[in-house]
């Protein structure tokens, strides 16, 4: 297992186990972690597979994958704080204004369930949270499987993230106005029909599945984080799986990840459409995911 060079640690906050959480951050105590995140441990096996869902969904997004895993693996699924299934009162807007909050949550869950080594499968936001967590604690991760992952959604310089700042402003504006109308009780009449852009519709759908203020907060966080400079610190092997047509993540991003990750990595582009291929095209995506879970990267591959 490669060790993180000491110098890289300088870029990061103190590792989780050394952090003394601020009072406001001490939201999980004892076994409540499992409850707060709806953690479920399924199946039996020596190897642990942890599944992290992306923005706007919850652990049910893995329902097509889990049945294939439970016979050979111990599977841990959980919901992000702020997902539609968690108690919205637990969502700490400060803590989750950066990706670290989610990374800490993941590490806390692993600690709670005494996971010493796992295969982590992350979708979208979670793949990046997993990457971050693997920088803090590389010893906990055997490998990362990143589905529809992107270190930065905005186009910046010569980096093509897929979104222009104006797009995001438009989306945020639409969300905000809808949120306001929701608060005032008229949202149902506004949402959907009067928003013509497919992108806005798609995001509004996912957003409004969460409590809208939480969704908006996370939405902003997603479009501000930039993990590109930290990719080099990710030393755990990474399997990058990407839809050939994804509204949120261009294929070029997968290649960018592959080029810039610090450890071994491999890219597989699946001929699927959409940002949630595991849900929309399970017949194509699940076998690919399984293959990457079951097999490690051999040196020749990357």
């Amino acid at each position: 297992m490669p060790q993180i060079p000491n110098s890289t640690l300088l870029h990061f906050p103190t590792p989780i186990h050394k952090i003394k959480l601020k009072k406001s951050n001490r939201v999980y105590m004892g076994s409540s972690i499992a409850e707060a995140h709806n953690v479920r441990v399924l199946g039996a096996g020596d190897t642990v597979v942890v599944l992290g869902h992306g923005f706007g969904t919850d652990q049910s997004v893995w329902k097509h994958l889990i049945p294939h895993l439970v016979d050979c693996y111990k599977v841990i699924v959980y919901d992000h704080m702020g997902a539609g299934t968690t108690n919205p009162d637990y969502f700490d807007f400060d803590r989750y204004s950066t990706l670290e909050g989610f990374a800490y949550d993941l590490l806390a869950i692993l600690e709670e369930f005494r996971v010493h080594k796992c295969i982590y499968v992350g979708h979208s936001l979670s793949s990046m949270a997993g990457a971050l967590a693997s920088i803090f604690r590389p010893d906990l991760f055997h490998k990362l499987i990143m589905l529809s992952a992107s270190p930065r959604f905005l186009n910046t310089g010569d980096y093509f993230g897929g979104f222009e700042q104006e797009d995001i402003d438009e989306l945020c504006g639409a969300m905000e106005s809808n949120y306001k109308s929701w608060v005032s009780g008229f949202a149902p009449l506004v949402v959907g029909g009067d928003m013509d852009s497919v992108a806005v519709q798609e995001f509004s759908r996912t957003l409004f599945n969460m409590r809208p203020d939480i969704a908006l907060s996370m939405f902003r966080m997603i479009f501000t984080f930039d993990l590109r400079h930290f990719l080099g610190c990710v030393t755990v092997p990474c399997h990058i799986i990407q839809s050939s047509k994804d509204l949120a993540v261009p294929v070029a991003v997968a290649e960018y990840l592959h080029q810039n990750l610090g450890g071994k990595s491999i890219v597989e582009v699946v001929p699927t459409e959409g940002h949630l291929p595991q849900l929309s095209s399970p017949e194509l995506t699940i076998p690919v995911l399984l293959r990457h879970i079951q097999h490690d990267i051999v040196d020749g591959d990357c």
């Binding site: 939201v27 105590m29 709806n38 299934t85 149902p188 959907g192 599945n209």
Partner: protein
């Protein structure tokens, strides 16, 4: 005599007590909610456990106005709640002490009012001397002037005793309170048959909130010599209360006074528990006589008893709360629940296993019930099997039926499957000159086995079409038939016939309605398929031809096999002149209305509008109370409809409408983003629900449209938002899932008391991975719902 004002003592509720979870302190800044030990008032669908007992300790309360007159109003409140029993507010609680006083007061009145007459009646009967002194067969006739406010009038139980009747009539004449209180004496007292009409009145102010009528056979009068207890008022009263089957009426009765409350509880035979599974340990134990317990409606809906945190404890608590159980109904999908129940109630005689996720149509044998039962009866609990005398079960194969060994079984109902198949049969005549009962199911099987059947002649078959609500059955489901002849059928009523007719997919709605014109002023319940076949109809009408099946058969161009589900999507265009044609065709001269129609059931294809319904003939329906709308079809084949809304707002034409089933469960579409030009399910949900806020609905059952690919039937944001506009809604059952924060929308409905997510469809939501609404979310919503103040 002191006025009621002075009878009541001040009602001082205990302040609410907050309980924190053990081991978590404020200092930790833990996120554990303050746990308010609030009871779900639905735990029993009555407030029995709460109304007279400890509820005031448990519920969060606001400062109660302590002036005595307001307390009288409170009692009135409780009675008002009687109309709809689960609607009491914390202010409407009746303190036990109040009950006692009330009873005392009422007894006093009855003595003073009726003493002379009753003494006469009971003269010479020593057994009744006590009654004359203490209480009276006629309970509770307060004088109007003694009622310091008009809010409560009282409860009357009238026995078939002329003198009491006279005294009551007199009382009514003297004390007719501002013409507002409608007290009616048992109108026909027939001493010969010993049968009388008993009426309970719970009358509050201008609102006559609940009247209950039932016939009751009283013991011979005057009573035969014998032990005095046999005919004492208490026994009679007990019998009367025991005879009341309606739960709300029983709850009302229990509120009258403490004695009634005790009698009611002692005679309660069946209880259906609601409320949350996790609160079950607080189940009331004041129903010692309950013999029939229904646990299948517990919340979260569709979670087995064995999913409780400590199922054994729950079972234990239940067994102690209901010691005399003989009949049990519970939700079961696996063996563990059955084992749990069987281990606790070995004396159960009647067990009903509920599985909500019924497969449509004729199903292959269900997995959990029969198989597990068989295993159960064979191995696990032979003693239970020995005790069973009734068993309802569906979907058993014949060899499985053989496997059930219950020696004492008296009644056994099983939906059998037929193996005979005649795939080429086209014409069948069955006239066996012998009465055949309950033959409906056989014709359904016939239809499935003989798909080519075109002509059917039946004689002496009964029960061939007995539709329940809008669910058709029997011969009505023989879709391929072109000719049907029925002879000597004893029980085919209007609804049965309508069931058959309404299944003829070639009959447009307008013609169907016209066909029913001769009997339309007698129809109480109606199902109709909303097929707006405009061009065809106009043609028929302009000819002045009435309803003629043959004519239709020739004219319209439906597929030969009659199975065509293609509904023409012509937009209905209605010509006002048609009205004249309708009037000139024989029925028109005296305009018939649907005066008797109380229940309307509609089938409508997806994308079709409801608006032509009124023009099609259902215009004057002053008494429709309940409507069921079934929307069926595949949205994925449809482009965005031109109209913005389905047209629910037109139902404001039915002024008495208060209950609706809106079933879009068989509407299939894209749950997630739809291809461009089409709408996803949230927009379809909006399409169908727009305008629902204009209806003054009290109860709503809503089946959201579904996406079969992802097995999702979820309440969408627009749907949640539109539902929240139904301000008068009291009961809302959503047959699907919903996100917590969408559910929270519903809290804006101030009147809402009862909300459930019922996942009663097939295929069942995947228990492990369905996350739109988790048990925790459900509990949080219920807690928020129950925490609210109830306006009435």
């Amino acid at each position: 005599m002191e006025s009621l004002d002075h009878v009541f003592v001040e009602f001082r509720p205990q302040p609410p007590q907050l309980h924190r979870y053990q081991g978590e302190t404020e200092e930790d800044g833990c996120y554990g909610d303050d746990f308010i030990h609030a009871h779900s008032p639905q735990l029993d669908e009555s407030l029995d456990a709460y109304g007279c007992g400890y509820a005031h300790e448990l519920r969060e309360q606001k400062e109660v106005d302590s002036s005595p007159s307001s307390l009288v109003v409170q009692i009135g409140y409780s009675c008002a709640g009687a109309r709809d029993f689960d609607c009491f507010s914390e202010r409407g609680m009746v303190n036990e002490m109040l009950c006692d006083k009330l009873e005392m007061k009422l007894s006093t009145y009855s003595i003073s009012e009726t003493k002379s007459e009753t003494n006469e009646a009971i003269d010479g009967d020593a057994a009744y001397s006590e009654i004359g002194n203490r209480s009276n067969p006629a309970i509770g006739l307060p004088r109007a002037q003694d009622l310091s406010c008009e809010k409560i009038v009282g409860v009357l139980v009238a026995l078939p005793q002329k003198e009491v009747a006279h005294s009551f009539i007199k009382w009514r004449k003297e004390n007719y309170i501002n013409g507002k209180v409608d007290l009616v004496l048992p109108d026909e007292i027939n001493e010969k048959s010993n049968k009388t009409k008993i009426e309970f009145f719970f009358t509050v102010g201008v609102l006559a909130l609940r009247q209950l009528y039932f016939d009751f056979h009283l013991p011979a009068w005057p009573p035969p010599p014998g032990p005095p207890s046999a005919t004492s008022p208490d026994v009679i009263l007990s019998n009367i209360i025991a005879a009341v089957s309606d739960v709300r009426s029983r709850n009302s009765a229990a509120l009258a006074c403490r004695k009634w409350c005790l009698l009611e509880r002692a005679t309660r035979a069946a209880v259906s528990l609601r409320g949350n599974l996790r609160d079950l340990f607080t189940v009331p134990n004041c129903f010692p006589s309950v013999s029939s317990l229904d646990l299948s409606l517990l919340s979260p809906w569709g979670h087995p008893l064995s999913s409780a945190s400590d199922p054994a404890l729950i079972a234990h608590v239940l067994r102690h709360a209901f010691p005399s159980l003989s009949s049990l109904t519970f939700y079961a999908r696996n063996l563990s629940t059955i084992q749990l129940v069987a281990s606790q109630w070995r004396t159960a005689e009647h067990v009903k296993l509920v599985r909500w996720h019924q497969r449509p149509q004729i199903s292959p044998p269900s997995t959990a019930g029969p198989t597990t039962f068989r295993r159960l009866s064979r191995q696990a609990y032979p003693s239970l099997a020995l005790n069973l005398t009734r068993l309802d079960i569906e979907g058993l194969k014949s060899d499985e039926i053989k496997a059930i060994t219950c020696p004492n079984l008296i009644e056994f109902k099983a939906a059998r499957r037929f193996d005979l198949s005649l795939p080429l049969l086209e014409e069948l005549g069955l006239d066996i000159c012998n009465n055949v009962r309950d033959s409906g199911a056989a014709f359904e099987v016939l239809n499935s086995r003989c798909p080519k059947l075109r002509s059917l002649k039946l004689g002496f078959f009964h029960g061939i079409s007995m539709p329940i609500e809008s669910k058709l059955d029997g011969v009505a489901l023989c879709q391929g038939l072109k000719s049907l002849s029925i002879r000597n059928v004893g029980d085919l009523d209007d609804m049965g016939l309508i069931g058959i007719v309404s299944c003829c997919s070639n009959l447009p709605a307008r013609q169907c309605l016209k066909a029913l014109e001769p009997i339309q002023d007698r129809i109480k319940r109606l199902h109709i398929d909303c097929i707006w076949d405009s061009a065809q109809e106009l043609e028929d009408d302009s000819d002045g031809v009435g309803f003629d099946l043959n004519c239709l058969d020739q004219d319209n161009g439906f597929d030969d096999d009659g199975m065509s589900k293609e509904r023409k999507r012509c937009k209905y265009s209605y010509d006002l002149n048609m009205e004249l044609d309708v009037n000139s065709n024989g029925y028109g001269n005296n305009v018939r209305t649907w005066d008797k129609l109380e229940y309307l059931s509609l089938w409508i294809a997806v994308g079709q509008l409801l608006t032509p319904l009124v023009e099609a003939g259902l215009d004057h329906c002053p008494n429709i109370e309940e409507i069921r709308i079934k929307v069926e079809g595949d949205c994925r084949e449809m482009s965005r409809p031109r109209e913005r809304e389905f047209g629910l707002s037109m139902l404001v034409n039915y002024p008495k409408l208060w209950k609706m089933h809106l079933d879009c469960g068989d509407t299939i579409g894209y749950a997630h983003t739809a291809p461009s030009g089409q709408m996803d399910l949230s927009l379809w949900g909006r399409f169908y629900l727009i305008g629902i806020g204009h209806l003054n609905l009290t109860e709503l059952d809503y089946w959201p449209p579904q996406d079969r690919d992802v097995n999702q039937r979820s309440l969408s944001l627009p749907a949640a938002g539109l539902l929240q506009e139904c301000f008068g809604l009291r009961k809302l059952f959503i047959h699907g899932t919903a996100h917590e924060h969408f559910m929270m929308f519903l809290l804006r409905i101030t009147e809402l008391r009862d909300v459930q997510l019922r996942e009663d469809y097939y295929p069942a939501p995947e228990n492990d991975m369905s996350t739109e609404m988790r048990a925790d979310s459900c509990s949080r919503f219920e807690a928020a719902l129950n925490r609210r103040r109830i306006s009435d």
